[in-house]
């Protein structure tokens, strides 16, 4: 009896939603994107999702192939005045400094402890890599995740005086939900460290760890003398998920070409090219930071998140460029509080 009622309920549900929940026959609901102003940006998103989810339509894409990839820094959350992971690394140098008295006089640590951004910039990539090695390696993956979680719970963004995880873009959160409600799988494909991001992406974006692709260092398995296995983070760089590394990372981790990709900088250009080169309907989007009042305004000349060549290609090829100032009703959730 119970079984028959169940069958009736499932049947009723399927009839009412007109097929499968993923391939819903109803048009995509644009009300979900309430922080987007009506305009070309929002329209291009809704049109695309409507086309690829319309069963029997010429652009229909099966749910398992609805792969959407998002850059992280500057696309899902802010990246000024510096990438948040760099802020983490610098805080970490300060936290570890008492155990390393020599850092007071040794670069690049001295520059961090003196908060001498100019000296730090002058040390370039070599300095950066030394800071990353000192703060991200030589510990187990479990310990690292705990350190990141503790930092996120206490650190505050210098301009907004809020936890970094509140600096996520409300319109992009809505876009992620909108895509998932339409049967897409959403992935992060970022130059940031994969083990840094995975600590919070599920809670903040609803993106589970295995749907996060990022840069990584070598990790080694070790069976400790007490029989406990650990994974140790080594200082050797394994993979840089930026620029041409993004399609490579997509291939390696996802194994399927996205039909939808969103970025904000030249580091996303190859991911967008790779997405565009597939067959069938495609969506390529860029966040253009044009709002110095609510967020920041920067593009072609910025050292962080430079958007120059990718902007030219987007304009030439008609990719979607979301103008933060005009396309977004609000940038951060806390604006409306």
């Amino acid at each position: 009896m119970r079984r028959r009622m169940m069958i009736v309920a499932v049947w009723l549900l399927l009839v009412l939603i007109g097929g499968s929940p993923l391939g819903a026959a109803e048009p995509a609901k644009s009300e979900a994107l309430s922080s987007w102003n009506d305009g070309a940006g929002k329209k291009s998103i809704v049109d695309f999702v409507t086309r690829v989810t319309r069963e029997g339509g010429p652009d229909y894409v099966k749910p398992e192939e609805r792969i959407a990839t998002f850059d992280h820094d500057g696309t899902l959350w802010a990246e000024q005045p510096m990438y948040f992971q760099i802020a983490f690394a610098m805080d970490r140098v300060r936290a570890l400094a008492p155990k390393h008295p020599q850092w007071k006089t040794k670069q690049p640590f001295k520059a961090v402890l003196d908060r001498d951004i100019k000296a730090l910039a002058a040390l370039g990539e070599t300095g950066f890599l030394k800071i990353m090695a000192a703060t991200h390696t030589g510990i187990t993956t479990d310990d690292f995740a705990k350190i990141v979680a503790d930092w996120l719970a206490t650190a505050r963004h210098p301009r907004f005086d809020r936890p970094y995880t509140e600096l996520v873009y409300q319109p992009m959160l809505e876009l992620l939900s909108f895509l998932r409600a339409n049967g897409f799988k959403t992935f992060i494909v970022s130059g940031g460290g994969v083990e840094f991001m995975r600590v919070f992406t599920e809670r903040v974006y609803g993106i589970s760890p295995e749907q996060v692709v990022g840069s990584s260092g070598v990790v080694r398995f070790q069976l400790r003398p007490d029989g406990k296995p650990v994974l140790l983070k080594d200082s050797k760089i394994e993979f840089v998920d930026d620029g041409p590394g993004k399609p490579v990372g997509i291939n390696r981790f996802i194994g399927r070409r996205p039909i939808f990709a969103f970025g904000n900088s030249d580091g996303d250009q190859q991911m967008l090219q790779w997405t565009a080169a597939g067959s069938g309907a495609r969506f390529m989007g860029l966040v253009h930071h044009t709002d110095a009042e609510r967020e920041w305004a920067y593009d072609r000349k910025s050292s962080v998140g430079r958007l120059d060549k990718a902007l030219d290609e987007a304009n030439a090829k008609g990719w979607t460029v979301a103008n933060m100032k005009t396309d977004w009703k609000r940038v951060f959730a806390f604006e409306s509080q």
Copy 2:
């Protein structure tokens, strides 16, 4: 009206299944494992799944943390008389031979063309790597996937005279489905090539490409003169997902420790150790090849899929060892046809 009926249908459904579909309050249905004989192997699986899915119970695990990892060769499909990917590589050498007349006299290709398994074995890993480089690299990822698909459609297993993809274990297919029906995410974690496996894992196992972790070579992004981006498979080895590489691959690709892992050889030992070392309820399993009649019988002395140290550890720690001869009612789906 339509909306109200929908609400009624959903409500009815939720009442009937007693909560959420993922955290079903009913005990796990063991009838799903119809190719498993009633015995210790089946019981340990059903007991574990019942415990971790019982909401409010002491061993309850949230659906997002229900990660199950499976080795591939010898665990989900057969691996005798040689790993099927090696059979592919050797067929590929034969197919490419007309374009490489020098192979007739040059090792290791000569041994393949002469079907001289003894000479091939004597060439060891160096010979193997040369064959892999000649058959798996220097082409685009798209071309490689097509070659694998064509091979799977035409090649036949020497003993069973059937496509290799029919050599999958029916009890393990049922186990994958059973776990997914209970809210698990199922992953393959194999020493096999990730781009080889992804061609068929979704069709054969219902495991999508991004849930396949495997060994890989370096892949490079290239923008061709006509503006078309491609990914080229390089001959440099990037990652070997075997032995201690398995927990590393799990960390890199999945980013979460499994609560359930199944293997069949010493190459799976570290994956099982890593799984066992997490907190809360854990399941570690091994397929023991004990059935020379229906499949093969091999363990401690085998060059393919050696099971020695991992078997000792399983016995010492009470991990589940599925005895193919006694635990499996049937091995392959075609047996009952």
